[in-house]
C-alpha cells in the first residue's frame, strides 16, 4: 500500500509546513526569528537582572505580571505566525471550468486584445457595489475583502497585509491574534521600560546614576531596545485600533476603498454600525475554522486515466478551456487539471452529435477545430501569440454557438431531456447571464 499523502504536502501555495501540517508559515521567515529573538532576549534580560532586584526591593508582583504578559505575547505571536490566515482553497477543476465558461461572454467585445481585460464581477454588499476580481492563480472570483498574497501565492480572506515580522499573512483567521499581539507587545514594552527605569533610579538613590548603570549593564540594553521599538509598536497598535473600530483592513485603508472622496455614497458595508460592536467582532467574534484541511488525506483521482484517453481522441473540436489555460500561462498542475475538464466538455458535446442541428454546427466549425487543436500533440509550432489570439477569438464564437445549440434543442424538444440535461449544466453560467 502506497504511503498516504496528506493535503499539506501537495498544497499549491508557497508556504512552509511543520509538525505534519499543523503549523503553517510563509516561505521566508527570517524576520520572524528576529522578532522572536528580540522579544525573548529582552524579556530574558529583564527577568534575569531587573526582576530579581525589583522583586526583592519593591514587590514580587512585578515578575509575576511580567511573566503573564510575556506568555500572552508569545502565544499570540505563535498563534499569528503558525495558523492559517484564512486561505481560500483553490478551485477544483470542474469549478474552474464552470467559471471560465461564465467569464467568456463579456470578452467578446474585445477579441483582438492580447491580454484580456481584468475580469471582474460585481456584487452588491448591503447596497454598496463591490467589484470581485478573478484570480488567475486560484481560479476563483475573490470574495469581497479577499486578496491574493503574492509572497504566499494564496488568496486570503479579509486580507490585511503580509507581515514579515510575524512570518505570515494577516487575514481573517489570525487578525485577532495579530492585533492582540501588537497590543500586548506594546504593553510589555512599556512595562519593561518602566521597570528598568525604576530599577536604575532605585539603584541611583543609593549611589550615583553612572554607578547604577555600571552595576546592571543589561538594564541599559533593555532600555535601548524598548525605547527604540516602543514607538513603532505603539504607532502600529494605534493604527490597528483605529482599523478595528472602523472594521477595515490595512489593505482597504491603503487603497482608500471606503473614503468619501470617491463618491458621496461610499461607505464601509462591513461595519457593524458602532465602534464597540466592531471591536467586539474583531476581538470576540466567531472563529472561522481553517478551510484547508491540511492534515486530511489526498484522495487519488481515478478519473485521470480516463481523461487522458479522451484527450487522445483526434475528433475533439473545441476544447476551449484548454486553450485558454495554455494562453494565460497558469501553473502546471492546475493547468493540467483544468485541461482535463475542458476535454470532458468537448467530448461531451461530441457525443451529442446525434442531434442534427448540433452536427451541422460541428461540421461548420471543423476548420476551427484544427486551429484549436494546436495543443502540444498537433501543434506545428506557430508563433504563440498569434495562434493564441486566434484561438481566443474562435473560442468565443464557438462557445456562443454551442450555447445557442444547447438552448434550442431544450426549448424545442423538452421530452428528450436525457442527454440534453447535461448540456444545460455545461452552459448554465451563460444562460443566467442572458
Amino acid at each position: 500500500m502506497p504511503k498516504k499523502v496528506r493535503k499539506w504536502e501537495v498544497f499549491p501555495g508557497k508556504n512552509k509546513f511543520y509538525c505534519n501540517g499543523r503549523i503553517m508559515m510563509a516561505k521566508q521567515s527570517g524576520i520572524f526569528y528576529l522578532t522572536c529573538s528580540l522579544i525573548v532576549v529582552t524579556s530574558g534580560l529583564f527577568f534575569g537582572f531587573d526582576c530579581v532586584y525589583l522583586a526583592e526591593h519593591v514587590t514580587p508582583a512585578i515578575p509575576a505580571i511580567g511573566v503573564a504578559l510575556f506568555l500572552f505575547v508569545m502565544s499570540t505571536l505563535f498563534r499569528t505566525s503558525f495558523s492559517d490566515p484564512g486561505v481560500i482553497p483553490r478551485s477544483t477543476p470542474d469549478e474552474a471550468a464552470e467559471i471560465e465558461k461564465q467569464i467568456e461572454v463579456p470578452n467578446t467585445s474585445s477579441p483582438g486584445t492580447y491580454r484580456p481585460p481584468p475580469r471582474t464581477r460585481e456584487v452588491v454588499v448591503k447596497g454598496q457595489v463591490i467589484k470581485l476580481k478573478y484570480c488567475f492563480t486560484c481560479k476563483i472570483f475573490r470574495p469581497p475583502r479577499a486578496s491574493h498574497c503574492s509572497l504566499c501565492d494564496n488568496c486570503v480572506e479579509r486580507f490585511d497585509h503580509h507581515c514579515p515580522w510575524v512570518g505570515n499573512c494577516v487575514g481573517k483567521r489570525n487578525y485577532r491574534y495579530f492585533y492582540l499581539f501588537i497590543l500586548s507587545l506594546s504593553v510589555l514594552c512599556i512595562y519593561i521600560f518602566a521597570c528598568v527605569l525604576t530599577h536604575l533610579i532605585l539603584r541611583a538613590q543609593n549611589d550615583n546614576f553612572l554607578n547604577a548603570m555600571k552595576e546592571s549593564p543589561a538594564s541599559i540594553v533593555e532600555a535601548i531596545i524598548c525605547f527604540f521599538s516602543v514607538w513603532s509598536i505603539i504607532g502600529l497598535a494605534g493604527f490597528h485600533t483605529y482599523l478595528a473600530t472602523s472594521e477595515q483592513t490595512t489593505n482597504e485603508d491603503i487603497k482608500g476603498s471606503f473614503t468619501a472622496k470617491r463618491g458621496q455614497d461610499n461607505f464601509n458595508p462591513y461595519s457593524k454600525g458602532s465602534i464597540i460592536k466592531n471591536c467586539m467582532t474583531v476581538l470576540c467574534g466567531p472563529t472561522a475554522p481553517s478551510l484547508l484541511d491540511r492534515r486530511g488525506f489526498v484522495v487519488p483521482e481515478v478519473s485521470q486515466a480516463l481523461v487522458v484517453q479522451v484527450s487522445e481522441n483526434p475528433e475533439k473540436e473545441h476544447n476551449s478551456v484548454n486553450v485558454r489555460h495554455e494562453y494565460y500561462g497558469s501553473t502546471n498542475i492546475t493547468n493540467q487539471k483544468t485541461n482535463s475538464t475542458g476535454m470532458n466538455t468537448a467530448d461531451d458535446i461530441n457525443n451529442e452529435s446525434k442531434n442534427v442541428a448540433k452536427r451541422e454546427m460541428i461540421t461548420y466549425q471543423t476548420p476551427d477545430g484544427t486551429v484549436n487543436s494546436k495543443l502540444p500533440p498537433n501543434s506545428g509550432g506557430g508563433p504563440p501569440t498569434c495562434t493564441g489570439r486566434k484561438n481566443h477569438i474562435w473560442d468565443m464564437t464557438l462557445n456562443q454557438l454551442n450555447y445557442m445549440d444547447i438552448v434550442i434543442p431544450i426549448t424545442s424538444e423538452n421530452t428528450e431531456s436525457g442527454t440534453k440535461g447535461e448540456k444545460t449544466v455545461v452552459s448554465r453560467g451563460c444562460s443566467t447571464e442572458y
Binding site: E98, P143, P144, E157
Partner: protein, 140 residues
Amino acid sequence: MSEMENLAALPVNQCIKIFVQRDFTDGTAVKFQNKYPPELRGKIEESQFSQTLNTLNGLYAEAESLSSRTYCESCFACLTAYLAYLCMDTYYEKCLKKVNRYIEEQNKTVYVPRGVMLVDPVERGLRVLEICLLNETNHR
C-alpha cells in the same frame, strides 16, 4: 437501499455538476444564493431545494452570528492565551459539523434517491455548494 448505495458509489468526479455561488448581499458571512438551478427541474422540486438552502443558510448564519455564546468562548480562550483552542472545538466548528450532518441526512432521504447529491461546501472551501447529478456522466 442497495440502489442508493450504488448511486453514491459512482465516481462523483465524472458527473455533471451544478455550482451554487455565494450570496454576498448581507456581507461576507457564509450564505448561498437561493436560486433554483433549472438543471434540477424534474428531479427536485423548487420548494424542496429552497427549503434545503434556507436551512443551510440558517445553520451558517448561526455559526457566524455574534451570540453571547461566541463572546464567552472567545473571551475564555483569550484569558487562557488561546491555549484553550488546542483542546476544544469552537462553536463555528460545531456548527459546521451540524451542517455536515444535515447535508448527509438530506442526501440520504431526499437527494441521492433522485439522482442528485449535495457536496458539503466545506470541502470546496465554502466557496460554492456543489450539486452532482449522479446519473449523468460527463463522458462515456
